[in-house]
Subunit: 366 residues, 2 copies
Amino acid sequence: MADATLRDVAQAAGCSVATVSRVMVGNRPVGAETARRVRAAAERLGYRPNQVARALRSRSTGTVGLVLPQIINPFFPSLVRELEHALHANGRALLLADCDDNPDTEAARINALLARQVDALVVIPVDEQRSRAAVAAAAAQLPLLVLDRSCGHSVADSVAVDNATGMALVLDHLAQTGRRRLCFLGAAGADSAAVERRAAYEAGAAALDPQAPGRVELGDFSAEWGAAAVDRVWPAQPDALVCANDLIAVGALQRLRQLGVRVPDEVAVTGFDDTDIATVSEPALTTIRQPVAGLAAEAARLLELRLAQKDAPEPRRTVRLVPDLVVRASSAAGTADPAGPARAERVIGGPDRPAPADLLPAPPSL
Amino acid sequence: MADATLRDVAQAAGCSVATVSRVMVGNRPVGAETARRVRAAAERLGYRPNQVARALRSRSTGTVGLVLPQIINPFFPSLVRELEHALHANGRALLLADCDDNPDTEAARINALLARQVDALVVIPVDEQRSRAAVAAAAAQLPLLVLDRSCGHSVADSVAVDNATGMALVLDHLAQTGRRRLCFLGAAGADSAAVERRAAYEAGAAALDPQAPGRVELGDFSAEWGAAAVDRVWPAQPDALVCANDLIAVGALQRLRQLGVRVPDEVAVTGFDDTDIATVSEPALTTIRQPVAGLAAEAARLLELRLAQKDAPEPRRTVRLVPDLVVRASSAAGTADPAGPARAERVIGGPDRPAPADLLPAPPSL
DNA sequence: CTGAAAGCGCTAACAT
DNA sequence: ATGTTAGCGCTTTCAG
């Protein structure tokens, strides 16, 4: 049998459809007794408001689109999870689009979501430059938030981790534990995570060793590249390998093991992201823990803010969350005790951080 | 400015809205010259069909809901990716719902998606028993496919990996490489993956060693449990640890390393799923590779089939895909060469499998 | 506080 | 091949 409609409920409750609608939405005065009768009838008929009809009439689908580069990047699932929960808590649903790391696919997905009348869009851009046009065009049409990576300034609201501070935490830690000959194993990608992490390394490592900023190898965010990169930097006799993410670091650890190099005794290795593999690798990986829940919460908060006061020409907002350093065996100062607890770790917070409410308005566009 | 509507395009092209609609949908005869004019006008106005209005009228949203237990389970993201691509290829969009491994949340998410008028639902059930009611109720309303796990027979179409064959491949491999004292480190979960893998172990291991089916430890699908389980089975002096998934296996490897046990010389360890961590663990993990792309493709195919012939009371269909065994260092027969290539692996296919088109109708319900 | 009525943007009969 | 028209199910004025 077909689903019950508002009319069916109205008929059963002996009132008009308008009254039923008012009861269901609940934001308008309705007589207590009438409301009771309506709710009873709705319950009895198993009535469920048709969100599509509601959306057409009220011009709001209660739907948010999430466009991301690659769901299989091990860092994204937890972000998706937190975002999904935050949105559902507000009665919204999440339309997911995976771009396969391709800016053209990304543009197509964004358009498809616009056609579906999403109320807002969260985009994790594929490419700092090549994502910009499509993202900016969409941002002109609806509330849009750029998450985790950026794609040019002032395109839209933005929430991301503070990559510079994260890298600085790594460099401080390595300096304090006596490392002096650093190398950076990074990614050549044009996304902002790759760019910012490299820039932060180059800026911070110079203080430790004038040669360090020059010891940079760029490939991609994969374990294969991490292994290959070790062979390229090893002749420089580094005592620390600073990797742009956990995958690269784990690949490096594998190659070092094959070469018979002891970690952390001969060389320290650090990652970035604190994905699952950081705890299961051997040795466990010192890395930067992304404030995933915080990122999602901030994103949801900013989104709701925009959705609430739709027309107000608020300035763009930028939120940067400071990550923590998690020290594990791969960078321990002394000799690791192989019989000790494998999961030993120490969390070191970033510098005093602004409360989430402190928002930095971005410079005006153009 | 507001989006252009059909009417705007009709006005600009000098024809009726019906004609424009026909051009946009493209399934009805329209004069070539008229069509050209319409398309030009649409292009000029930046017209994008409003999918919500279209959905309300045509009673089809072009949207599929995916309900899964936990997106952070490392096996799911690749499944989500494949499914998203398959659906988008058919012009559909994916509404994602994460249940936090909770059957009540699962029921709520399913209802929310029904209210949003999804055309179909793909569910990866949280619990073999406790998911059944909500899933069955939804299946009565629209095309529904149960993916990767089951939740009772004949509830809906189903696509999953053949866990029994996967486990048999593992046991054969261990038998052929001379292992005789097997243990199973599994999960006590009520989902079908946990249940089937354990059952297959107990059924197959008896042939190797009458005591083996008794050596079963059940916890959850985590590395922590894998490590803890090692301590419980080690006194039995096993020469192979058969784990119910990769996480458990990696946890076991960690603990064995702490105990100074050499893998694979003293004991072999196997996983299940072939997630990323199987290749980055030390030693690399022998495991069962899930046919992820195949699962997603079959799911999409069955879904389209149901959507095409909506009312036909077709019998329930069940598809089981046979996985492959991937042999890596954790179960190598001889001594692993530490300087050898870390990624050495050998893929062993399952037994002759039926072509995907061979569908087994499930027994009639009740 | 409640009802009547007008659409939201589109598709699908039914005309022509 | 094209136009006219009646809604899809709901929310929201506008009257009462």
